[in-house]
């Protein structure tokens, strides 16, 4: 039946996620009970089940623990600078419009240092799928305060507890114009995967926030046990309210986490707006960039 401590090469090769990962880089760097790996598995499952053309799928990450995701996915993968995943992805998408461009990064990266890019890409309805893993803290650099750290929670730069109000990310995304907004914890594996699948099929700025445990820093600094205990906390305190007004989905320290798909609507993307506008203004003179990209001489 099953194997125990004996490494099983067959099991390695047949793991259903293998075709989506750079197996030569596994095991990954994430700590025990970190939730990022689970989110990656759900994303890979969504790619699998939607049957998207993986050759035409790109993944862009910034810096940080979640910033390492691009490095593990067997796609065209870009591990960029801190906070710049979204503008980098914007160039990628506009340069070759037929690509499915996904951005996979953390809270500090996407809404801390990269906050300006986040709101503007949402405003433009740039055709990007954004997966933000929110662990409430800067993990890789040692547990510093993040723009998502709940009030009163401790971080290594707020040793007496955080007194800054954090972002309510679904509300931020929705009010800036995101066309798909959902939040799950990494315990909601089925619903999260379903959201990924939906988002893959949608157009425009799609935003999925995934609450995930950081055992080494957030849990330790706040005496919450390990990521295992945080998973149990999600189990007991995550409340699914898909009809919730995004204004009401703030996260308080160790309080209910309201989850659900909050926004799912259609709005023309940046490229669609641009094409329609120029066609209207310039008629036949307008030459849109072809889906396969710009001027290449091979």
């Amino acid at each position: 039946m099953s194997t125990t401590v004996d490494p099983n090469q067959v099991a390695v090769d047949e793991h259903p996620v293998s075709p989506f990962l750079r197996m030569d880089r596994i095991p990954h760097i994430w700590c025990p009970t970190c939730g990022i790996g689970t989110v990656v598995k759900c994303f890979a499952t969504a790619l699998d089940e939607t049957g998207v053309d993986l050759d035409k799928t790109s993944i862009v990450s910034g810096i940080g623990c979640t910033g390492r995701v691009a490095g593990y996915m067997k796609l065209d993968a870009f591990h960029t600078t801190h906070g710049r995943a979204i503008p980098f992805a914007t160039g990628l998408k506009l340069g070759r419009p037929e690509l499915l461009v996904t951005v996979f990064s953390g809270d500090g990266d996407l809404v801390g240092i990269g906050g300006n890019h986040f709101i503007h890409a949402a405003r433009r309805n740039m055709d990007l799928m954004i997966i933000l893993v929110n662990n409430f803290i800067y993990g890789m650099t040692g547990g510093q305060n993040a723009p998502t750290t709940p009030l009163k929670a401790r971080s290594s730069t707020m040793p007496f507890g955080n007194f800054e109000r954090p972002f309510n990310l679904p509300h931020l995304a929705a009010s800036c114009g995101a066309t798909y907004v959902a939040r799950w914890t990494c315990l909601h594996i089925r619903r999260l995967t379903k959201s990924f699948k939906e988002a893959i099929r949608r157009k425009g700025f799609r935003f999925i926030e995934v609450i995930a445990p950081c055992s080494t820093l957030y849990a330790r600094l706040n005496k919450l046990g390990t990521g295992f205990n945080l998973m149990q906390f999600y189990h007991d305190n995550a409340e699914i309210r898909p009809d919730a007004d995004t204004r009401d989905v703030d996260i308080e320290f160790q309080d209910n986490i309201i989850c659900g798909k909050f926004v799912d609507e259609e709005r023309p993307t940046f490229t669609e707006m641009m094409n329609e506008h120029y066609q209207q203004k310039l008629g036949d003179k307008y030459v849109p960039l072809p889906p396969e990209g710009g001027l290449l001489h091979e």
């Binding site: 259903p16 700590c31 009970t33 315990l187 089925r190 390990t226 998973m231």
Partner: protein, 109 residues
Amino acid sequence: MKYWRKPLDFDQVKIPRGEVRIIADRCKGCGFCVEYCPKDVLVLSEEFNRKGYHPPKVVKHGECVNCNLCAMICPDFAIYSVPLEEEASSDQQSAVSSQQSVEEQGTDR
């Protein structure tokens, strides 16, 4: 699981059976699979893997329903289940419903 109306083929539906595969040396011993396996098939082994973690091991042989929840929740890509050979093809459908039942039971609230 409670049905509002009993499915017509209720008697014919077989509970799928699966087998757990564990890549022990990749495991970091988080215990997610043990905790969330709907059939409590797993426990953390007393033995160590190469990196000094306790990987899971199967204690309830033959009880895996191939829901693959362990594979989904494992952050280290170290575990998954495969359908048992003799039932592989006919039970795809029921595997799906068993996944859904798992969801109702408690991984998602």
